[in-house]
């Protein structure tokens, strides 16, 4: 089917990850907010992880698209 699902997954997690990173950076000094999460700035930390995951998906989709174009597509089934 014509859609590589890695594009939307990658895009979505990159956006959400970036939002959490920014939010985490802005609210980093708010000790009251992060009392719940045992004093860890989880928004920043988990946001970075989501961002990395999203970018990884995007890169792998890009590589797969490139391989398909050059005709050397090795099918992942």
């Amino acid at each position: 089917m014509g859609l590589d699902i890695r594009w939307p997954i990658g895009l979505m997690f990159s956006i959400i990850g970036a939002m959490l990173v920014v939010y985490g950076a802005v609210t980093g000094s708010d000790a009251e907010l992060y009392k719940r999460s045992l004093g860890i700035n989880v928004n920043l930390a988990w946001g970075l992880l989501l961002l990395a995951f999203g970018l990884l998906m995007l890169v792998s989709a890009k590589i797969a698209a490139g391989a398909k174009k050059t005709g050397s597509s090795k099918d992942l089934s």
Binding site: M1, L3, I5, M12, Y34, S37, L38, V42, G47, S77
Partner: protein, 652 residues
């Protein structure tokens, strides 16, 4: 619980993406087969993750955490004894027939193998079940959102259904499968940080084990009022097999080893994973036989580690409740508006009189009636204290409500996972976890809807109502019935929310229907002598026998005649779960024996030639030689089973 702008933003982005996927895929929906079966075009890693995601509905997420709190690590038997071996069996032995027969659905396979009667029986029960299953989970979700966030029940119900409707209607099964992959990651990434924080808070695995030993020895101290007065060996919550081997009285599940291994592990799990079209449909949408067989094997990998995500939070909740860390308790059964309306005047009235604590409780209990008093089990001390405080200075309505809720002693185990989300997630992460919850609900619902529309269109409509119409007509029907299916689910959700008994009855009937099914498939696929008379009457007999079994047995704590034991009580089981596993065992054996005997007594209706591709002994072996040896299904299956054995030994 307060949501910030960022929390809503995350939810909206997620909704935007799932609808976007449906929208993008709409131009590929040219024929009914594109819409209902994805035109068999999807790579294995996608169908594999969708396979697991369709099963990971909101009820699974919430229910497994509840069992984790209630029974501890023994809940993992649903995974390491039940699901994984069944998934390996599906991949190695059954998938070649499902996929190779070119059947478009599980009921259609039954028609090819046996005859129309078996297909009809299976497709009707399946269609009804999927609608009810999705209604039950919609009701659960809307209720949760209402209790947790104060969202309006009707609005949550309709909006969530509308989102699912839009993307399934646009992109059909492909859209459901693709969004399920996205939802899979959303669920995992949304809940993982909660589990991490919870585990860190209790002080790591070893500290958790220590605290759960305390829970086992005195469950009532952790607020488990249903186990008041009971005590179990210290490792009951943290060891999967030892308490089980010690007998039903020594484990909180109240189950014996045979019922666990044969009833759950073999009959129920193989029945679910190998014959339920909801999951099998995902594998059947794969692009070729290799991909179809790999689907359940790929799915088995995350399934194997899911207990960390779904069972561990429940265990963490139980441990936190024992130490009452930061005032934590297992969530009390939520009171609804109708109950508050009776309770609040009663408290006010009691405040105007000088009464003893027990008289106050009596008065309040009288106000809500005997049944509700039994359901909620209000705490005498807390009610009396509330009345005294209210007498000194009349409390505002909000305070009254929250203190009344706090006075409820009955535990709502299903609230366990969300109570952790509430405890540990700051704004931001909270939005992510709640989006994970929404995603799990939507993946389960889309799974049910796509299975329902295929079975209706191909197995009921095309087979019995309108044969030989154009493909455009069936395509139209597929879309129309998607709308109808979601509409019916909404009706069921309201039905279940009005009559809580309805849910018990429906789930009971599911059990009757599902329990014997695997016997029919097992004999049909692996014994060419099985006849359609045998299959039909065997299945019917198996279903009736499970109903009869339920009418003749009961479980400790249930009133015979209300829950089980309708005719007489021949046997009383130590728990509902034990009764359920034994029922499945009995139904399976009856169906198996009847099918066997009737098949031997009746003439064969299908020749060997007709059974080619449908029965094991009549089908040429698939050649896996061209695949790298490590990637062959049988080898992968063995590796997965070995992994299960290792996990079972580690948590022995």
């Amino acid at each position: 619980m307060q949501l910030g702008t960022i929390d809503y933003a995350i939810m909206l982005i997620y909704v935007g993406f799932v609808i976007g996927i449906g929208w993008t895929l709409r131009r590929y929906m040219k024929t009914s087969s594109d819409f209902l079966t994805s035109g068999r075009s999807i790579p294995a890693w996608v169908t594999g993750l969708a396979f697991i995601s369709a099963n990971l509905g909101a009820l699974e997420l919430v229910g497994m955490a509840a069992s984790g709190a209630k029974y501890g690590i023994a809940t993992s038997h649903f995974y390491w004894v039940g699901a994984i071996p069944a998934m390996v069996f599906l991949a190695v032995f059954m998938m070649p027939f499902y996929y190779g027969s070119k059947a478009r659905s599980v009921p259609e396979y039954l028609k090819l193998r046996f005859d129309e009667r078996v297909r009809c029986l299976n497709s009707i029960t399946f269609a009804v079940m999927t609608v009810f299953a999705s209604g039950i989970s919609m009701n659960a979700l809307a209720k949760l959102l209402h209790q947790l966030l104060g969202w309006n029940y009707d609005v949550s119900l309709w909006i969530c259904s509308a989102v699912v409707l839009v993307y399934v209607l646009k992109g059909g099964l492909t859209s459901a499968i693709y969004t399920e992959v996205l939802q899979f990651f959303m669920i995992v990434l949304g809940f993982a940080p909660v589990v991490y924080l919870g585990l860190k808070d209790v002080g790591g695995w070893d500290a958790l084990k220590g605290q759960l030993a305390g829970v086992a020895q005195n469950p009532a101290a952790a607020g488990m009022i249903d186990k008041a007065g009971k005590t179990f060996p210290p490792d009951s919550w943290t060891s999967a097999w030892k308490p089980l081997l010690a007998g039903p009285a020594s484990n909180p599940m109240g189950v014996d080893v045979f019922a666990m291994v044969f009833g759950l592990g073999f009959v129920l799990s193989f029945g679910y994973w190998c014959t339920n079209f909801l999951v099998v449909q995902r594998a059947m949408a794969a692009k070729n036989m290799t991909a179809a067989r790999r689907t359940p094997l790929i799915a088995a990998v995350p399934k194997m580690i899911f207990p960390v995500l779904v069972i561990l939070p429940g265990m963490i909740a139980a441990s936190l409740a024992l130490t009452a860390k930061d005032g934590y308790r297992l969530p009390p059964k939520p009171l609804d508006t109708a109950i508050y309306e009776k309770l609040i005047p009663a408290v006010k009235q009691a405040s105007s009189q000088a009464l003893q604590a027990d008289a106050v409780l009596q008065m309040v209990n009288d106000a809500i009636g005997k049944d509700d008093a039994k359901t909620y089990k209000l705490n005498q001390g807390k009610i009396a204290a509330l009345v005294v405080d209210n007498r000194t200075t009349p409390l505002p309505e909000e305070t009254l409500k929250s203190r009344l809720q706090d006075a409820v002693s009955e535990v709502d185990y299903d609230g366990a996972i969300l109570s952790l989300v509430r405890k540990y997630c700051p704004t931001g992460l909270l939005g992510l976890a709640l989006t994970g919850l929404l995603a799990s609900f939507m993946s389960g619902m889309a799974g049910n809807v796509t299975a329902f529309n295929t079975v209706w269109t191909y197995d009921l409509y095309q087979a019995y109502i309108a044969k030989n119409k154009s493909d455009d007509h069936y395509m139209w029907m597929g879309r129309a019935v998607t709308v109808v299916g979601i509409g019916l689910s909404i009706v069921c959700a309201y039905l279940v929310s009005r009559w809580s008994n309805a849910m018990d009855i429906i789930q009971l009937v599911f059990g009757f229907v599902n329990a014997p099914l695997f016997a029919t498939f097992l004999l049909g696929m692996f014994w060419s002598r099985t006849t359609s008379h045998g299959a039909f009457y065997g299945l019917l007999g198996g279903t009736l026998s499970s109903a009869l079994f339920h009418s003749l047995t009961s479980a400790v704590g249930n009133t015979p005649g209300i829950k089980g034991g309708y005719l007489a009580v021949v046997q009383t089981f130590p728990s509902d779960m034990a009764q359920n596993f034994w029922l499945a065992t009995c139904a399976f054996l009856v169906c198996f024996t009847l099918t066997l005997v009737i098949s031997l007594a009746t003439r064969r209706t299908k020749t060997n030639e007709e059974l080619k591709g449908l029965v094991y002994s009549m089908t040429p072996r698939l050649k896996d030689d061209e695949q790298l040896w490590i990637l062959r299904p049988a080898v992968l299956g063995v590796i997965l089973l070995a992994g299960c054995v290792v996990l079972n030994i580690i948590f022995w």
